[in-house]
Amino acid sequence: MKGYNEAFQDIPGTVVFDATQSRLGYHLNQFCMSLMKADNRAAFKAGERAYLERWPMTEEQRQAVLDRDYNRMIALGGNIYFLAKIGATDGFSFQNLASKMTGVPEDEYKAMMVAGGRPIEGNRSKTGKAK
């Protein structure tokens, strides 16, 4: 059987949340889960670095959170369902996060969605093997 992670490598612009990612990001995602409590959201906003020190994350992961670099957080094992709690704590929607991750202004991203979204053509397969 082909490795699970390997099997997903062919999909463009996508990091599949598999064992590799989940093991990397366990504590980063735990930190995100803490933001489901209003008190914790307030504590995080009051002192982000001190709050992040409470979780045994890597320094790289902490920096990615402080920078709100969502692509980096995903590369380091963050899962979008959990990372979105950081976005909501900042007062941002999923669409705002998507505009950050795709590197286009939010209004441009929204216009793309209203026009039907990002199409499958050109976005199915890196190698072109998948039909």
Binding site: F94, M101, V114
Partner: protein
């Protein structure tokens, strides 16, 4: 004996919760989405289900990466929603039907589905928003629920084929339930969408429409896809299609399409709605 009245499958995007709370149903952005629902509500008023068995994924309110069941069945007398940390309002609790839940659990395990059993369970927007779309207005929910969660967070996910078989088994369990209750089977999530990475905003309308057609007349056709195929064709979070497949699989005989609706976008997602009447139940009522 219990009767399955039919299936309703719908998207459950969190921003729907904000649109409802802020009364934006008639805003130009939201109207084309919300306009899909009145015909389904009218049908539900006619068939009057007592219980909704709901297939969906929990997005981290009840289950986290510490313990992630592939399939779990709720057996609680009441299910509460809570702060998901996504800035969406919480909704009132939903009553359960523990006797039916345990009957489904016993049937599934007898059928060799090794599910997780939960006598306490929080329910997230994937259960509450579809209820709010079917029964708007904020009054008491007219149905009790049996939540059945499917893991779409942490790969490896169950396969579409396994999800379909789970739905078939749940359908058999409901059909063998001794109580005289009317059951609606729901599947929530999807349709195509991707929230993360450089491919965020991905939508595959031809694939979605093909699936919605297949779910009416030839649902087994969709079981040939793998979870990887769904990530590629429907987007990283489009794997929620499996909840639709399970809900459809619970109807074993002929079905009639009550209504379908498709609108892009709601936020990052293709909004889909499909309601199917179970013809077997409709015939039994006419006789």
């Amino acid at each position: 004996m219990a009767t399955i009245v039919g299936s309703v499958m719908t998207s459950h995007v969190p921003s729907i919760g904000n649109a409802i709370a802020k009364h934006r149903e008639n805003d130009p952005y939201w109207k084309p989405f919300f306009d899909g629902y009145p015909p389904v509500r009218a049908w539900l008023d006619r068939v009057k289900p007592d219980v909704a068995v709901v297939f969906y994924q929990d997005h981290g309110l009840n289950f986290f990466l510490d313990k992630m069941p592939t399939f779990a069945v709720g057996a609680a007398p009441e299910y509460r929603n809570a702060d998901e940390g996504w800035g969406i309002p919480t909704v009132k609790p939903v009553k359960g039907d523990p006797a039916l839940s345990w009957h489904i659990i016993e049937s599934l395990v007898a059928d060799e589905f090794d599910i997780t059993m939960c006598q306490e369970m929080k329910v997230d927007h994937a259960l509450t928003l579809p209820l709010a779309l079917m029964w708007p207005g904020g009054g008491d929910w007219p149905v009790r629920v049996v939540p059945i969660t499917m893991n779409h967070v942490q790969h490896p996910l169950p396969s579409p084929k396994r999800s379909y078989r789970l739905g078939e088994s749940v359908g058999r369990a409901i059909a063998s339930w001794k109580e005289d209750v009317r059951v609606l089977v729901m599947g929530t999530g999807g349709l195509s969408h991707q929230l993360d990475g450089q491919r965020a905003g991905f939508i595959n309308k031809p694939f979605d429409l093909m699936c919605m057609d297949a779910l009416v007349d030839d649902p087994k056709k969709l079981t040939r896809y793998s979870a990887l195929d769904l990530v590629r064709e429907a987007g990283a979070q489009g794997t929620e299609l499996m909840a639709w497949m399970a809900a459809r699989a619970a109807l074993p005989g002929r079905v009639t399409k009550v209504h379908s609706h498709y609108h892009v976008p709601i936020s990052n997602t293709a909004g889909g709605l499909l309601a199917l009447q179970n013809d077997g139940a409709a015939l039994a009522r006419a006789a």
